[in-house]
Symmetry: C3
């Protein structure tokens, strides 16, 4: 793939990731589902209520987000790797801020792990999974954790650094 083609594709893929968050925070679920391939597989975690297959199923499933009064999905860094000219993988950080129906914040520090495919409609998400670095407040959705290495035997915390 030429450098220019790769850069253009990366920009197009980032746009898809951004449009997902935009549609989600507006609860425009038809626009959200249209960012996925027709045969998409989505699993934010193993719980069946967090999985969907195909656009219609995804649109129905994401209706669960109405249980939040408001949301704000801030994307951070995005990493993209190409597998041939028409397939890509992406990993993107998200700070997903939600508010419960009674006004409490529920924050997910997560990572989207995606596969994308070039289609006649442009780049589309064919697989989306999620992992989380952490959660805060009223966020208790069972999303699998990012794997974090344990300290070596005998490691001791430095003293006074946070004093």
């Amino acid at each position: 793939m030429s450098d220019l083609r790769a850069l253009t594709d990366r920009a197009a893929i980032r746009d898809v990731l951004a449009d997902y968050c935009r549609a989600l925070d507006r609860m425009d679920l038809a626009a959200l589902a249209a960012l996925f391939t027709r045969d998409c597989e989505v699993a934010f975690g193993p719980d069946p209520r967090l999985t969907a297959r195909g656009r219609d199923d995804l649109e129905r499933s994401m209706a669960r987000m109405w249980r939040w009064r408001r949301t704000a999905h801030h994307l951070g860094q995005v990493r993209i790797w190409f597998d041939g000219p028409d397939h890509a993988r992406a990993e993107s950080y998200v700070l997903a801020w939600h508010e419960t129906s009674d006004g409490r914040p529920a924050v997910l520090h997560g990572v989207y792990r995606d596969r994308l495919r070039r289609t006649d409609e442009g780049w589309r998400l064919s697989h989306r999974a999620m992992e989380m670095n952490a959660a805060e407040g009223a966020f208790h959705v069972p999303i699998p954790p990012v794997e974090r290495a344990l300290p070596p035997k005998g490691w001791c915390a430095p003293e006074g650094l946070d004093g």
Copy 2:
């Protein structure tokens, strides 16, 4: 517009958006105002204290940000659309963290909605408006909300998902 030109312009526009946040968090208001066109129109909301016309007026108006003890404006995803070779629209997520003079956090989960123009000085902001997905803590500035669709009739929240 060629692909390469579009990519270079997108990068230049992103730099303008980043420089705005940098200048704001440093309260370098002359540098901030210089990122706008001379005839710029800025309206963070309908309140007259949130609007400005032209660089001098903007610089004066943004002095209100000194009421915060400290700020941190984190940009998230940025979407850019071109209207011809010298005009663009941009939409960018911002997590705007502020601290009140007595030490309380005040957080805005917002979206900048911009128009930009290519000038002799480079890309400059000609219009800036703002909407917000949500606010937290001591943030009470009257910024218009992002439009969020309501659930369809008869929608019920899934049970136990957040248990």
Copy 3:
């Protein structure tokens, strides 16, 4: 430098910045250290426990991050400037969320200030320093503040804006 070369290099540098956060949140410290030049100099602040020279020293030093139960390093806007074809400076916003061992959030609103060099392994960080716009909760690491201008004499806060 050609426009295409600059864009490709910017993308490669952004990838290095993203990989740093990924490795840090996973505590894959060997992968983290490999993103730096062999003669790197890192100083998150003047405290000797926040400084390191060379990859091995950096890997040892960053083991301090195990004192946090979990972390999430969200990158925001990134600015990159080139100093010739093989050297660059970068400034990137980071919302660094940490959790203490007893479950309290500790948040840093920071800025990485980096120098990078093109090497046989690709772009690598040769210098990393840090400044902070603000900190929240249990975060008390002595990181130098971003310089923020003071209000002009006689400046008065607008009334009622946050009412």
